[in-house]
Amino acid sequence: MHYIPQLIVDALLLGGIYTLMVIGLALSFGVTRVINFAHGEAVMIGAYGAYTIALVSGIDPLLALPLLMVIGCLFGMALFKVSIEPVLKAPHVNQILLTFGIGLVLQNAAVMIWKADERSVVTPYAYSSFQFGEVFVAGGRLIGFGVALVLVAALFFWLRRTEFGRATRALDEQRDAAVLVGINVKRMYALAFGLSVALGVATGVILSFIGAISPFMGFHILVKGFAIIVLGGLGSIVGAVLGAFLLAFAETAVSYYVPNGTGWAEAVAFAVLFLVLVLRPRGIIGQAVAD
């Protein structure tokens, strides 16, 4: 009765999905210090985008992914300009409520456009699977894992090797100095926010064939996303990825080995988060975060 190999596979695949959910959140928080309560709605819109494209034109979600990410990025930048830029200097709570309001609007817009029915995109690879002896690997989730890896790698490349990426990191570390070297802070904020929305959209595209799409899918993802980025160390992308896998392992292990574990899994996630906050308030990767 040993579940270990299957547990590891399940946890890794789940970790991939969690990674997707949180890198965007970590990026936008790291740069702009705005906690985006509408990030879950970006995921939801991405999922509906993939669904609609598949329904109307039959284009596969994975093919639509780049286009949707570009649209998401532009949408995110516009949203930032219009709504978030004016409250950058306001207290955190104001920003939280503003983004929450935006999320509520998007959520209900989705109810009006797509109705509240559950949807999902059916693709052949979503139902493919591989069996290695006792261990089973779900194809759709494997693809999700792959996309997560690619996007994380791309994000890191962007941050390390490109002019704007470096500027983003600079802004994250020393805002004043970033201004002094001539970085247009507001434009960088908008760009980082746009990219985080694009990453959220990508998450939605993956979830569109792995799970179910509904207008209300976002908030649940968001709460878990917060748990993960705080677990990893706010604003640190490496930390967020580590946090995602840590949580995936904890939840999967609880699911396998605790009676009624699938029910308790999430409570364990929040308990772990609570403990980490109390014992090591800066998360696993202790980046200094002012306030």
């Binding site: 409520l97 509520l104 209900n108 009624n260 929040f270 906050l277």
Partner: protein, 328 residues
């Protein structure tokens, strides 16, 4: 100045009396709204107390939920009365506040906020997974024979709301207020001034938590039904902060004004736009966004600004500096 503040006290007392008196007026729908306003005033005032000390809570649904369950479970078990179970809820809330403050230690800002969010979600899941205690998702009804008249509950809510604002006023006149301000602005400096942040923090969180619990308890009596979703819904966490921010954060009147505004807004959108799927909540979201963009200091801030403009030029700015939004 003195004459003016006397006038304000008089107005405050009058509005409080008005709220209490309204419960004797037989207008069911307005009673219902004022009931919701009253419990929201308690919740918002409680949130604001913590915010005054620099503690942004995302877990007020946890306090509310603990109070709700404490009230209904104790009422059903021992045939408790409203007031008796209110005491139970206050104690449960205070105890929980003490634990939260003790465990979260020196956490500040976003870290404190997220830890309270984790607490609230954790409690919700525990309530779902422990049906032997809470009846789980199937839900829990208040015993029918215990149910007081609606008017009793309206009255209790109005009195409790007035009492909550009273507590907030007492705190604002006490040493605790200094401590809060100092902690919000700079904890290290507070320490140097001889304020023990840890102890003050425990007191404030305990008071605030007890207040939110009491609101949850009264609401549970009114609703007569509880399940983990009802008790621990994040909706309350959000309402708890929308009201003070819409009204005016870090002020005494802000949460009160905000509570009226929020109930008017949410019921208004529900009634006027409720016939089409999704429209009511979308309108609510839009108005929220617009308010935060254009009223960063809340309604209180707008009134205050207008007052200031009316005041003769060159006069010293009034000592009501609490209306200032913190910078971050």
């Amino acid at each position: 100045m003195a004459r003016q503040s006397n006038l304000m006290v008089a107005l405050g007392v009058l509005s409080a009396l008005g709220l209490v008196a309204s419960t004797f007026w037989d207008a069911p729908q307005i009673n219902n709204w004022l009931f919701r306003v009253s419990t929201l005033i308690m919740l918002a005032t409680s949130w604001n107390l913590m915010a005054n000390a620099g503690l942004v809570s995302l877990g007020h649904s946890a306090f509310w939920g603990v109070g709700s369950y404490a009230a209904i479970l104790s009422a059903n078990a021992w045939s408790g009365s409203v007031l008796g179970t209110l005491v139970v809820a206050l104690l449960a809330g205070a105890l929980m506040g003490l634990i939260v403050a003790a465990v979260t230690g020196g956490l500040k800002g976003i870290f404190f906020a997220i830890s309270t969010l984790a607490l609230s979600e954790g409690l919700r899941i525990s309530a779902l997974m422990l049906p032997d205690v809470t009846s789980g998702a199937v839900g829990l009804f208040l015993r029918q024979d215990l149910r007081p008249s609606q008017h009793t509950l309206y009255l209790v809510a109005a009195l409790a709301a007035v009492a909550s604002v009273g507590v907030a006023i007492l705190i604002s006149c006490s040493k605790l207020q200094f401590a809060s301000r100092a902690m919000r602005d700079n904890e290290a400096a507070a320490q140097m001034l001889g304020i023990a942040p840890r102890r003050q923090r425990m007191i404030i969180v305990a008071i605030s938590s007890a207040m939110a619990s009491a609101a949850g308890a009264i609401n549970a009596w009114y609703g007569g039904y509880l399940d983990p979703e009802v008790a621990f819904t994040l909706h309350n966490t959000i309402l708890a902060q929308i009201a003070p921010i819409l009204g005016g954060i870090h002020t005494l009147a802000g949460p009160v004004i905000g509570s009226f505004a929020i109930i008017a807004l949410s019921e208004g959108t529900r009634i006027w736009f409720g016939n089409m799927e999704g429209v009511s909540q979308m309108t609510f979201g839009l108005v929220l966004v617009v308010c935060i963009l254009f009223l960063p200091r809340g309604i209180e801030g707008v009134m205050h600004r207008r007052k200031k403009r009316q005041a003769t030029a060159g006069a010293a700015s009034p000592a009501l500096a609490t209306g200032r939004g913190g910078k971050s």
